[in-house]
């Protein structure tokens, strides 16, 4: 009997091992199936499941207004801090999957937060994000923007007679008094760019954004007279109630305690001259915009 028992034991052990192997195999098999399913799921998510669905796009418009318009403006045409999204060319990727990722994960190093992390909105579900993408596609310009002008001539103007580079930098070349324009062409609507050149004081560009602060510092003009009578004019880099950080016309940084200044005057009259038709013809302006767009698209 003990021998039989042992045999039985061996038998059951064998069975158990077989079962274990079988179970392992089955597990592997199911894992493979799940993996394949996940892959198809993933690839299904490479394209918008709600593409060209007008109802989804309408719902997406409402989601967009609630969650995105704060920065990107009504109609997705760009606001003070968010890029124009009606452009076919998106800076952080054009595919549906790229847009989904940009919306869901945000863009590190920019003001674009991950989904649900803004102070203003609540998170969107995957479906709601796809609705937003359907909406963005519906307002996106169908044909790529016609070449506005002669980008090569625009570049000559930018770094030459139009003197843009005195204050603006593109790809590391130019001045520091105004915003770096390397990515502006891809980020801003053409109307906005034209307006910024013709009427720069109407809407000042935004400078430093701090992590917890709702509003960015703007390119305000400041005139300062120190206690010992030195006078400086320049742009505000940052300020709080007590201190001022500025860049003067010679690109020197000055750090002041406001109560130690003899005078201090801020203005929303931009240091940038308004380029009217006499200073810059419509054609030359178009050439400069073409240059900005060509750089921005890179």
């Amino acid at each position: 009997m003990p021998a039989l028992n042992r045999l039985k034991k061996i038998g059951s052990l064998f069975q158990m091992q077989t079962l274990a192997v079988l179970r392992g195999f089955l597990l592997a098999f199911f894992a493979a199936i799940v993996f394949c399913l996940a892959l198809t799921q993933l690839s299904a998510q490479d394209t918008n499941p709600l593409a060209n669905d007008p109802k989804a796009s309408k719902l997406g418009e409402f989601q967009f207004r609630s969650n995105c318009a704060f920065c990107h403006g009504l109609g997705a045409r760009g606001g003070g801090r968010g890029p124009d999204l009606t452009r076919a060319q998106k800076r952080h990727g054009n595919s549906d999957a790229d847009l989904f990722r940009t919306i869901n994960e945000g863009v590190p190093g920019t003001a674009m937060p991950p989904n649900g992390a803004t102070q203003q909105g609540v998170g969107m579900t995957d479906t709601e994000i796809w609705q937003v993408i359907a909406y963005i596609r519906s307002v996106q310009v169908k044909a790529p923007a016609q070449p506005l002008g002669d980008a090569a001539h625009g570049k000559t103007l930018f770094f030459g007679t139009a003197a843009c580079s005195t204050c603006h930098m593109i790809e590391g070349k130019g001045g520091r008094l105004g915003p770096d324009l390397t990515t502006t062409g891809s980020a801003r609507a053409t109307d906005y760019l034209v307006d910024s050149v013709r009427n720069p004081s109407r809407r000042l560009a935004q400078g430093i954004s701090e992590a917890m602060k709702e509003f960015s510092q703007e390119y305000e003009t400041v005139k300062v007279e120190t206690a010992d009578g030195q006078k400086f004019t320049g742009v505000v880099l940052n300020e709080d109630h007590f201190t001022l950080q500025m860049l003067d016309l010679r690109e020197q940084i000055h750090l002041f305690e406001k109560d130690k200044l003899r005078s201090y005057e801020k203005s929303r009259e931009s240091l940038m001259p308004a380029y009217d038709q006499k200073l810059l013809s419509d054609k030359d302006l178009q050439d400069i915009l073409a240059f900005l767009l060509s750089v921005g698209a890179r």
Binding site: S66, A69, G73, L74, K213, E239
Partner: protein, 530 residues
Amino acid sequence: MKELLHASLVLLGASSFLASNAHAQVTPQRLLDSAKEPQNWLMYSGDYTGHRFSTLDQINTSNASALVPKWAYQTMAGGKFETTPLVVDGILYATGQDDRAFALDAKSGRPIWQYQRALPADIRPCCGRVNRGLAILGDKVFFGTLDTHVIALDSKTGNVIWDVAAFDYRKGYSITLAPLIIKNLVIVGVSGGEYGIRGFIDAYDATSGERKWRFYTVPGPGEPGHETWEADSWKIGGAPAWITGSYDPATNTTFWTTGNPSPSNRGEGRAGDNLYSNSLLALDPDTGKLKWYFQFTKHDEHDWDATQVPVMIDQGEKHLIAQANRNGFFYVIDRSTGKLVFSNPYAKVTWSNSKDADGRPASLKEASPTPEGSRVCPGAAGATNWMSPTYDPQTKLFYVTAREQCDIFSTAPQPYEEGHAYYGSAYFPNDDTAPFWGALRAIDPETGKIKWEWKHPSPTWSGVLSTAGGLVFSGDAEGNFIALDAVSGNALWHFQCGASVYSSPMSFAIDGKQYVAVAAGSALFTFALP
């Protein structure tokens, strides 16, 4: 020998009795008599009046310029750190972002215990994973969570004593406020006005966690006020209650405020006044029965929650409640009847230029959101928000953080879906205007007139503390924590915290030394004289 042993046992017993008394049972009577222990900060607003006033005067106008930081405690969590700590007999209790709670040695800032709520992955609280603080009673601290639980923690260990689900968080409910203790009850209200919830205020037995009453802030069928909702809109009517109330023991009345009707920015589909959204409620704390209500903004379409701490002010025989409302008006209300005494704007207002029969600001038609967007002041974040104001009984002034921001409101008729965002509108700042700004304003509650203001370069979310030292403390979005002369509004001292202040400061004392504490960035800072 036997006697000696006996004596030492008695001594041991006595010392352990003393030791347990040192961080003592916080009784309901102690909460009522909080003025007798100015070294402690026993509840969210300091005491039941909602004054956020400390009677400590060691730090005062003559020496505030010498204030120095004493310690900082880093939660290392992201997002807005909105807590107001409690301090009881040398121990500081507070909450952090992401539903953590902790107890510190209030003198050194060293942790004694820490508790982290294991939050489900699918919570979707509006406006950040925030919490504004704890309540304390007996040997427990009480905490409302983002997954809508009310929990009691052992104040000596941080261990969970009881844990009750107030509601299903998946439907858009959450809790972010610091509970209020009245007698043996833990009173909380819910957040979730962005999700089409039906708001309520709950009371739980502090010992057992058993729910004693619930007051729905949106009346159901057959209840008074139900007729102020169109069709079934009451079911998803919003009216959350996400800021801690106050309590008048003389009349046994607790005052709570409510938030926006849902959807927050679209009135279509919920015709009527939408009671009790954007209201001040006077409740019997024993039963949860409504004594009276006052609605600040009828049929709101601008997200102007009335969730500002109701501040009880007594002027001779007059027993009042003052509130600087998110809609831009400062209201003074009779505390026994709920009748309006007066209202006066304390910030830029474009939505109203007339009063109704009851003297309440009446809304202009053109202030309603439109598909193209209409510009209205104040903006959706309001002329103020949840950050606490303070009332200083010495200067008899009410101090509040005012935000000068206008927004463009446009309609976005989202359909309701359970647990999903439900605004019905969008709002965003107008880019063409000058930058928005803010101010700390001192208001005379007798007249509604502004006595002085301290300008902030941009709108801020810092609350305000006043002290018997003749000081007012507040912060700004640029990261400064500032002490001002309560009479003149001149700044006497400031400290750069390194990130915006999103909290309301408080004060306490240990071993005869006064401290002021405020949360900013991810750190809790304390300041004292050198």
